[in-house]
C-alpha cells in the first residue's frame, strides 16, 4: 500500500526506448522486454497489465501521449490512477518545458533537463513537486539553459547570478515566484464537445456537453482574479447546470459552492486547465415522441436507406437550418479566415468597466467572435458494415469524400464556404454486398431443406430472398428487382453516421463569460490594464455525435 512510482520508460512510435529513469525500481526485465510484453496485447492496449511470469510479478502501467508510449513497472500494489495521473503529469510538464507537441527529438536533445525534472517531480518513487510553476522555480527551462551555456565561456564563478535565481520558492505551490511580464494579458478559452446520439426518428436519445476552460495568464505579481460565468435559463425554465465540475487546485471551492458560477482564483503563470464540467442537454428525458425536444443539433442530418431501383442505395443529407445562428454570412472568404482571427480580443478600457458590454454587444466585424459565430469543418463519417464489398455510383452534391477502406468508412467533408443557412447537401452511394459471406453454404442447405415443411408452420419470414448463391453483383441486382430487399442488403446498409463540426464563437450549452477581473492580489500596478480575451469553441468529432439510420 505504499504507492510508489518505481520507474519510467518512454518509447517512440517505433517502440524504441528513448528514455529510462529509475526512482526505486529493481528492474524485473529489460526495457525491451517491457515493451514486448506490452505490445503482445491487442490494441487498444489496457493501461494496466499484470506480468505474473516475471519475478517478482510486475504491474505494468502505460499511457500513450502523442505516439510516445510511457511505461511504468511496479512490483507491488499501488493505486493505478496514481501512476497514470503521474505519467500524464510528466507528459504535461515535458510539453510545458519543450513546447507542444512532445516529440522524441525534444526529449533526446534535453536529457539533462528531463533528468532534473524527473528527479524533482518524484523523489525515491514518491511524488514531490509536480506543478509546472513550482518546477520552474527549481529547474531552468531550456531557453534560460541555452543562455547559460552561452555565457559560461568565462571561468568558474561567473554563474552566480543564475545560482541565486531559484533560491526563492513561491509560497503558492502552483504559482512561481517573482512573475514579471512586460505586457500583461490573459486569455480564456472555453471549449465544449458535444456527445450526442440521435434516434432514427430525429429525437435525441442522449445529449451531453463536456466543457473545458483553458486559461492563459501572463500577469505580473500575484493577481487575484474573479471570473463570473452566466448560465442561461432559457427554454421554459430549468436551464442548464454545470454538472460534476472539477477544478484546478487554485480555484477557491468555497466561493464556487456558495455562488455557483463565481470562480475566484490566483492563477498559475502560463497556460493551464482551469476547470472542466459537463452539461446534460436533456435534463428531463422522456421517451415519448410527442414531448417537446429541448435540444437540436446545429445541423440536421437525415439518412435514407434501401433507396433506388435495387434498394441498394443509401443517401445522407445534411441541412443547415434557415435560422442557424452559426452559419457564415454569404461572404465566404471572411469565414475561412475566421479561424485565425477568432479571438475576440478586447482590451479593457477602464478598470471599473466589466467585460460583458465589450464581449457581447460590442460591434465586432470578425466572424467567429461571440456575436457572429461561424460553423466550420463540417464532415460526415459513414461507417460501413463488414458485409459491404465496395460502393459504386458514389456522388456528393458538394465537398469531397474518401472511402477509407482500412477503417471501412466514408469521410465526406464540406467546404467551409458552403455552410450557408438553408443549404442542403446530399451524399449518395450504392452498396455491393460481399458475395462470399461467411455462412453461405449453411444458408443454402438449410434453406432448401426447411422449405419442405413451410406448410406445417406459418413461417415467420419466408427465406425466399436467399441470394447468397449469386456470384456476381449484376445477377444479384436482377433478383432484387423482383423481391423486397433481402436480409443481407438490409444488413449492408449503414446503421449510423457520425458528424463532425466546429463552431467558433458560441458554446452549445449557452454558457457565457460575464466578466473577468483582477480583484486583488499584489505586484501589479493599478495603472496597468491587462489585455483580456475570451474565445468560445464548440465542437463534435471523433464519433462524439452519432445519428442513427
Amino acid at each position: 500500500m505504499a504507492g510508489a512510482i518505481e520507474a519510467l520508460y518512454i518509447y517512440d512510435s517505433q517502440n524504441a526506448v528513448i528514455l529510462q529513469h529509475n526512482w526505486r525500481h529493481r528492474p524485473t526485465a529489460s526495457a525491451q522486454e517491457y515493451i514486448t510484453a506490452y505490445l503482445s496485447h491487442p490494441t487498444p492496449r489496457p493501461p494496466l497489465i499484470h506480468l505474473s511470469n516475471l519475478s517478482p510479478p510486475t504491474l505494468l502501467f502505460s499511457i500513450i501521449h502523442n505516439n510516445l508510449t510511457f511505461l511504468s513497472p511496479a512490483t507491488s500494489e499501488v493505486e493505478p490512477l496514481l501512476i497514470l495521473e503521474f505519467l500524464h503529469r510528466i507528459a504535461e510538464v515535458l510539453e510545458d518545458y519543450f513546447t507542444p507537441p512532445l516529440i522524441p527529438s525534444k526529449i533526446e536533445g534535453n536529457y539533462d533537463i528531463v533528468a532534473e525534472l524527473l528527479g524533482e517531480m518524484c523523489d525515491d518513487g514518491l511524488p514531490f513537486n509536480t506543478e509546472p510553476n513550482g518546477l520552474r522555480d527549481v529547474v531552468l527551462p531550456p531557453s534560460i539553459m541555452k543562455k547559460l551555456l552561452a555565457n559560461v565561456t568565462l571561468p568558474t564563478g561567473s554563474l552566480d547570478p543564475f545560482r541565486s535565481t531559484p533560491s526563492t520558492i513561491s509560497t503558492i505551490p502552483w504559482r512561481r515566484a517573482n512573475v514579471k511580464h512586460t505586457s500583461n494579458e490573459m486569455y480564456l478559452d472555453l471549449l465544449e464537445t458535444l456527445y450526442c446520439t440521435i434516434a432514427p426518428s430525429g429525437r435525441p436519445i442522449s445529449a451531453r456537453v463536456s466543457g473545458t476552460m483553458l486559461f492563459t495568464a501572463k500577469i505580473s505579481g500575484i493577481p487575484d482574479m474573479l471570473l463570473l460565468l452566466r448560465t442561461p435559463t432559457p427554454r421554459g425554465g430549468g436551464g442548464v447546470t454545470l454538472e460534476a465540475p472539477v477544478f484546478h487546485p487554485c480555484v477557491r471551492l468555497s466561493k464556487w459552492n456558495s455562488q455557483p458560477g463565481h470562480l475566484s482564483f490566483v492563477p498559475p503563470d502560463g497556460k493551464f486547465v482551469l476547470a472542466s464540467y459537463e452539461v446534460n442537454m436533456l435534463p428531463d428525458f422522456s421517451p415519448s415522441i410527442s414531448s417537446p425536444q429541448p435540444f437540436h443539433l446545429p445541423l440536421s442530418v437525415t439518412t435514407k436507406t434501401l433507396q433506388g431501383p435495387n434498394s441498394t442505395e443509401f443517401e445522407v443529407k445534411v441541412t443547415i437550418p434557415h435560422s442557424s445562428p452559426y452559419a457564415s454570412s454569404s461572404n465566404s472568404s471572411s469565414s475561412q479566415n475566421s479561424g485565425s482571427s477568432a479571438f475576440a480580443r478586447i482590451a479593457a478600457q477602464s478598470a471599473g468597466s466589466s467585460l460583458p458590454s465589450q464581449f457581447l454587444q460590442g460591434p465586432s466585424s470578425s466572424a467567429g467572435s461571440s456575436n457572429n459565430p461561424v460553423m466550420e469543418d463540417v464532415a460526415v463519417h459513414i461507417p460501413l458494415p463488414p458485409q459491404v464489398r465496395t460502393l459504386i455510383n458514389t456522388r456528393a452534391s458538394k465537398g469531397d469524400f474518401i472511402h477509407d477502406t482500412e477503417k471501412n468508412q466514408i469521410r465526406w467533408r464540406l467546404p467551409n464556404a458552403a455552410i450557408i443557412p438553408g443549404a442542403a447537401y446530399t451524399f449518395k452511394a450504392e452498396v455491393v454486398v460481399k458475395s462470399t459471406y461467411e455462412d453461405e453454404d449453411e444458408d443454402q442447405t438449410s434453406g432448401a431443406k426447411l422449405s419442405n415443411y413451410d406448410n406445417n408452420y406459418d413461417a415467420g419470414t419466408p427465406k425466399s430472398a436467399v441470394n447468397s448463391g449469386t456470384t456476381t453483383p449484376g445477377k444479384e441486382k436482377e433478383k432484387e428487382k423482383k423481391s423486397p430487399p433481402s436480409a443481407q442488403v438490409i444488413a449492408s446498409m449503414p446503421r449510423s453516421v457520425l458528424l463532425d463540426f466546429t463552431i467558433r464563437g458560441a458554446l452549445l450549452s449557452g454558457l457565457k463569460v460575464d466578466s473577468l477581473n483582477i480583484v486583488g492580489g499584489k505586484g501589479l500596478p493599478e495603472s496597468v490594464k491587462p489585455y483580456k480575451g475570451v474565445k468560445y469553441i464548440s465542437r463534435a468529432g471523433e464519433g462524439s455525435v452519432e445519428v442513427r439510420c
Binding site: M1, G3, S13, N22, P46, L48, H50, S52, P56, N66, S76, E77, E79, L81, E85, H88, P100, P101, S105, E108, Y111, D112, G119, D123, L126, P127, F128, E131, V138, M145, T153, T156, L159, F162, S167, L191, I205, E243, A244, V251, L253, V273, S276, E278, L282, F285, P287, S288, G447, K449, Y453, N456, Y457, G460, T461, Q488, A491, R495, G543, E546
Partner: protein, 785 residues
C-alpha cells in the same frame, strides 16, 4: 479532466502543430543523431574525461550533459564515476544538480568513491539556499551506502527542523530511504515521522504521511493526536499528499471506529436491493436512522472529503470513493456518482480504470448511479473493454431506473445487439438477459426484443439470443408457454446449429405441459424428416426430444388418469404415432456416424423399452432443471477487493504482490476511546485552526465542523461534542436494552451448560455493563456544563 495538450491542440493552431510535429518527426532521426546520439556514441570516454576534468564550467557542464544523456538512454556510465564525482564541490548549481543525478544512480556500485563526496554534500546541508539544502538531503539519503546511515539520520534530523517547508518536505521523503539503508535507525526515524506529522505546513504533511506509510504503517497510535488536524488539512494539501493521507485515514477509521452503525445500514441496503425503486425509501429510512450516530470523528473525516471530489486528479476522486465505500453509511454515497462519472471525460486509460471501479461500486450500490444511467450509453468511440463495462453498468442500474430510462436502456441494448462487432453483440444480448433476470416484471419486454433477433441473418446474434431466451423462459416457464410455440416456428428459419439445438431442447422441456396437448410431438414429427441432415448437436437434441415426448406419453398411458385418446382405443399401442416416431428416430440414431449419438440412442431405448421402467426414465429424463442465473461478470472476479486498487483491476484470479485487504472494523471493545484523539496541548489545537484559516483556501466542509477561530477551540467544540454524545447515549441505551434481551437468551443457555463453573464470569459481565451505563450517564451529566 481532459489532458491539457489535447485541448490546446484543439483550440490552438492544431494544423500548425501537426506540421511542426511532422517536420521534426521526419528530421528527428538526423536531429537526434546530431545532438544526442552522436555525442553519446561518438564522444569517446577519453573525450568525456577531458571535458569533465576541464577548468571551465562550460566544458564540465557539457561533459555532464553527455553522461546524463547516456544514462537516460540506458548506457552504463559507471566508468566516469571518479571524473564526475570530483565536480561535486562545484559552486555552480547546474553542475551540482547533474552530479547529484549521477550519484543517485551509481553510488551503490562504487561505495568507496561515493564516500568521498559525502563530506561536501553534508556541507551543503547548511547552505543558505533552501533548494541546495533540499537537494543535499535528497542525494545524501539516496546514496545507497549503508556505512553512512548514521550521518544520513542526523542530516534528516537537522532538516526536519529546517525553516523552509521545502526542505522539511525533502527530509520527510528521505526518511524511508534511510530506513531501507539501515533498519536499525527505526526508533529515531519514527520519532522524526511523529514530529513531521504534527507539522503545521500542509506542504509537509503529505510527505510525512508518505514516510509514515513506508516506515511504520503499523503505528496507528502515532496518528491519534493528529487525526483531527489531518482531517482538516486534507483539503489544502497537494493531490499526492491527499492520496497518501486518504489511504492512511481509511485504514485508521477501520482500526479505530467500531462498525456497529454501518452494519445496520448494510442491512437496509439489502432490503433495497430486493425491491426495485426502493432507493428513495432507503434514503428516508436512513434519515431517521442512525446516521447521526456514527462516531463524530469518523463523521469529521467524511465531511472533510466532499471538496476533494472536485479535484482535477482522478486518483483523488477515486480515493474518496474508496473511503466512502468502505467506511460510510449508504446515504453518503449518493453525491459520489457525478464526480465518479466525471472521470469518464478523462483520457481512455483513466476512463477504463474509473469505469471498472464504478461498476464495482454499482454492484453494491446500483441505485446511486441510476439517475445518471445515460452516461453508460455506448458511444462509437468506446474501446471494446469500455463498452463491455458500460453494458455491465447498464444492466446493474436497470432495475433501479425510472420507467423511461428502463425502456431507453432496453432499446439501446437491442440496438447494440445489431452491431458489426461480434463481441459487442454477444455482450449486448447477455446484458438483455441480465436485465430480464434482475427485473422479472420486465422480462416479457426483453423476450420480445430477443425474439426480434432470432430471424436475423447474423448467426452469432441468433445463437446468443436463443441461449438467453432459454434462460429467461426457464426462470418463469408458466408465463412463457406461447414463446415456446413461436420459437418452434422459428425452427423453419433458424440455421445455426446451436440455435436449433437450443430451441429443440426448450421444446422438449415443455413437452409435458397441458398433459401432452402441445406442439412437441408435432415438432418431433417434422424434425424426424430431416434428421439425417442435421448437425450432431441438433441430432442429439432431437433424440432427446423423442425420448422425452415418449416418456411423457408412457406416463400418460400407464398411470390411468390420462384422457383416453380415441386412437388408443381403436388401435394397439404401438401404432400410436409417438412410439412410432420414437422408434424411427432411435433406429436412425443407432446407425449414425457419431458414437455419442449411437450410445445415447441405445440408452434411451433400453430406458424406455419396458413400460415398467418408465419411473426410472422419468427420473432421468424429466427431472426439473435448475434455473440458470447469470451473475454480473465483475461480481465473481472482483468481489471483496478494495476500491481503487490494482488488485481490483487485475481481478481475484491473480495475486498482486503487496496487496492487503483493508483491516476489518475494530470491535466495540477494542476501539480506543475518543480521548486519544484530543490534541496534546490545547493551544496547539487552536493554532492549527488558525493555520487552516491563514491558508486562505476553500475550506468549506471543515468550517462547519470547526467554528470560526475566535477562541473556538475551547468554547464551541465541547458543545458540539456534547450534542453528539447525547445522541450517542440514546442509541447506546437502546442498544443496551436490545443486548440485554439477547443476552438473557444467551445466558439461559450458558447457565444450563456452565452453571457451576462460569457463573462468576457472567456476573462480572453484567457488572461491566452496569459500569458502561453509568459511564454514559456520567458523561451526559457532565457535558451540558
Amino acid at each position: 479532466m481532459e489532458s491539457f495538450s489535447k485541448i490546446s491542440n484543439i483550440i490552438g493552431q492544431a494544423r500548425d502543430l501537426t506540421i511542426e510535429a511532422a517536420t521534426s518527426a521526419s528530421g528527428s532521426r538526423t536531429y537526434g543523431t546530431r545532438v544526442a546520439v552522436a555525442p553519446a556514441k561518438a564522444s569517446s570516454p577519453k573525450e568525456i574525461h577531458r571535458f569533465l576534468s576541464s577548468r571551465h564550467d562550460r566544458d564540465i557542464l557539457d561533459g555532464l550533459r553527455r553522461v546524463v544523456s547516456m544514462m537516460s538512454r540506458g548506457v552504463d556510465c559507471s566508468e566516469y564515476f571518479a571524473d564526475v564525482v570530483k565536480n561535486v564541490a562545484s559552486p555552480t548549481l547546474e553542475i551540482k544538480k547533474l552530479v547529484y543525478i549521477y550519484l543517485l544512480t551509481y553510488a551503490e556500485s562504487e561505495p568507496d568513491l561515493a564516500l568521498l563526496s559525502i563530506n561536501t554534500i553534508q556541507k551543503a546541508l547548511t547552505d543558505q539556499n533552501q533548494v541546495v539544502r533540499a537537494m543535499a538531503i535528497r542525494v545524501m539519503s539516496g546514496i545507497r551506502v549503508p556505512v553512512i546511515s548514521q550521518i544520513v539520520a542526523l542530516g534528516i534530523k537537522r532538516c526536519v527542523t529546517d525553516m523552509s517547508p521545502y526542505v522539511r518536505k525533502a527530509a520527510a521523503l528521505a526518511i524511508p530511504k534511510c530506513y531501507r539503508l539501515d533498519p536499525s535507525t527505526l526508533p529515531l526515524l519514527t520519532d522524526l515521522v511523529a514530529t513531521l506529522l504534527g507539522d503545521k505546513s500542509y506542504y509537509v504533511i503529505g510527505a510525512a504521511v508518505m514516510a509514515w506509510w513506508e516506515v511504520c504503517p503499523e503505528r496507528i497510535d502515532m496518528v491519534h493526536p493528529h487525526y483531527r488536524g489531518l482531517c482538516k488539512l486534507l483539503i489544502d494539501m497537494d493531490e499526492w499528499g491527499q492520496l497518501a493521507l486518504l489511504r492512511l485515514l481509511t485504514v485508521y477509521a477501520r482500526k479505530n471506529f467500531p462498525q456497529g452503525k454501518v452494519k445496520t445500514s448494510e442491512n437496509k441496503k439489502k432490503k433495497t436491493t430486493s425491491g426495485s425503486g426502493g432507493f428513495y425509501s432507503d434514503e428516508e429510512s436512513e434519515d431517521e436512522g442512525p446516521v447521526g450516530g456514527i462516531d463524530p470523528d469518523l463523521k469529521l473525516l467524511l465531511d472533510c472529503c466532499p471538496p476533494l471530489l472536485q479535484s482535477r486528479n482522478s486518483a483523488v476522486i477515486l480515493a474518496v470513493a474508496r473511503a466512502y465505500y468502505h467506511l460510510a453509511p449508504p446515504s453518503y454515497l449518493l453525491p459520489l456518482a457525478p464526480p465518479l462519472l466525471s472521470l469518464l471525460r478523462s483520457p481512455q486509460d483513466i476512463q477504463l480504470i474509473a469505469l471498472t471501479n464504478i461498476v464495482f461500486i454499482a454492484l453494491t450500490y446500483p441505485s446511486i448511479f441510476s439517475p445518471h444511467c445515460n452516461h453508460f450509453l455506448l458511444s462509437p468511440v468506446d474501446t471494446p473493454q469500455i463498452s463491455k463495462l458500460k453494458l455491465e453498468a447498464l444492466t446493474l442500474v436497470y432495475p433501479y431506473s425510472s420507467k423511461p430510462h428502463q425502456s431507453l436502456i432496453l432499446t439501446e441494448l437491442s440496438y447494440y445487439a445489431g452491431s458489426y462487432d461480434k463481441e459487442l453483440v454477444r455482450e449486448a444480448v447477455k446484458a438483455i438477459g441480465r436485465c430480464a433476470q434482475n427485473n422479472p416484471e420486465q422480462s416479457g419486454r426483453c423476450l420480445k426484443l430477443l425474439m426480434e433477433h432470432i430471424h436475423s441473418s447474423d448467426q452469432h446474434l441468433v445463437a446468443e439470443s436463443l441461449t438467453v431466451i432459454r434462460h429467461i423462459i426457464q426462470q418463469q416457464p408458466t408465463v412463457h408457454k406461447k414463446t415456446v410455440i413461436r420459437l418452434a416456428k422459428a425452427l423453419d428459419t433458424a440455421t445455426s446449429s446451436t440455435a436449433r439445438a437450443s430451441i429443440i431442447w426448450l421444446v422438449a422441456e415443455f413437452s409435458g405441459v397441458d398433459n401432452g396437448d402441445n406442439v412437441s410431438a408435432d415438432v418431433l414429427r417434422i424434425l424426424a424428416k430431416g434428421f439425417a441432415n442435421e448437425a450432431e448437436g441438433v441430432k442429439l437434441q432431437i433424440l432427446l426430444l423423442a425420448a422425452k415426448v415418449y416418456a411423457h406419453y408412457l406416463n400418460r398411458t400407464n398411470t390411468g388418469f390420462e384422457q383416453p385418446l380415441s386412437e388408443d382405443e381403436d388401435a394397439p399401442e404401438d401404432l400410436h404415432p409417438i412410439p412410432q416416431l420414437f422408434n424411427y428416430i432411435s433406429r436412425l440414431a443407432r446407425y449414425d456416424v457419431s458414437y455419442d449419438i449411437r450410445d445415447r440412442a441405445r440408452t434411451y431405448m433400453s430406458l424406455l423399452s419396458t413400460p415398467k421402467a418408465v419411473q426410472l426414465a422419468t427420473l432421468i429424463l424429466l427431472a426439473p432443471k435448475p434455473v440458470p442465473f447469470a451473475p454480473s461478470p465483475s461480481a465473481a472476479l472482483r468481489e471483496g477487493l478494495t476500491v481503487g486498487s490494482s488488485a481490483l483491476m487485475v481481478g481475484k484470479d491473480e495475486y498482486v504482490r503487496g496487496y492487503a485487504q483493508l483491516p476489518d472494523w475494530v470491535s466495540e471493545e477494542d476501539a480506543p476511546g475518543r480521548g486519544v484523539r484530543d490534541p496534546v496541548e490545547k493551544e496547539y489545537g487552536y493554532e492549527e485552526v488558525k493555520e487552516v484559516k491563514s491558508v486562505e483556501r476553500k475550506v468549506d466542509a471543515p468550517k462547519q465542523a470547526v467554528p470560526p477561530a475566535t477562541s473556538s477551540g475551547q468554547t464551541l467544540e465541547p458543545v458540539d461534542v456534547a450534542s453528539k454524545k447525547e445522541t450517542n447515549g440514546k442509541t447506546l441505551d437502546e442498544w443496551l436494552e436490545d443486548s440485554e434481551e439477547e443476552e438473557d437468551d444467551d445466558s439461559e443457555e450458558e447457565e444450563e451448560k456452565e452453571e457451576e463453573e462460569e457463573e462468576s464470569e457472567y456476573e462480572t459481565d453484567s457488572d461491566e455493563e452496569e459500569t458502561d451505563e453509568e459511564d454514559v450517564k456520567e458523561s451526559s451529566k457532565m457535558l451540558p456544563s
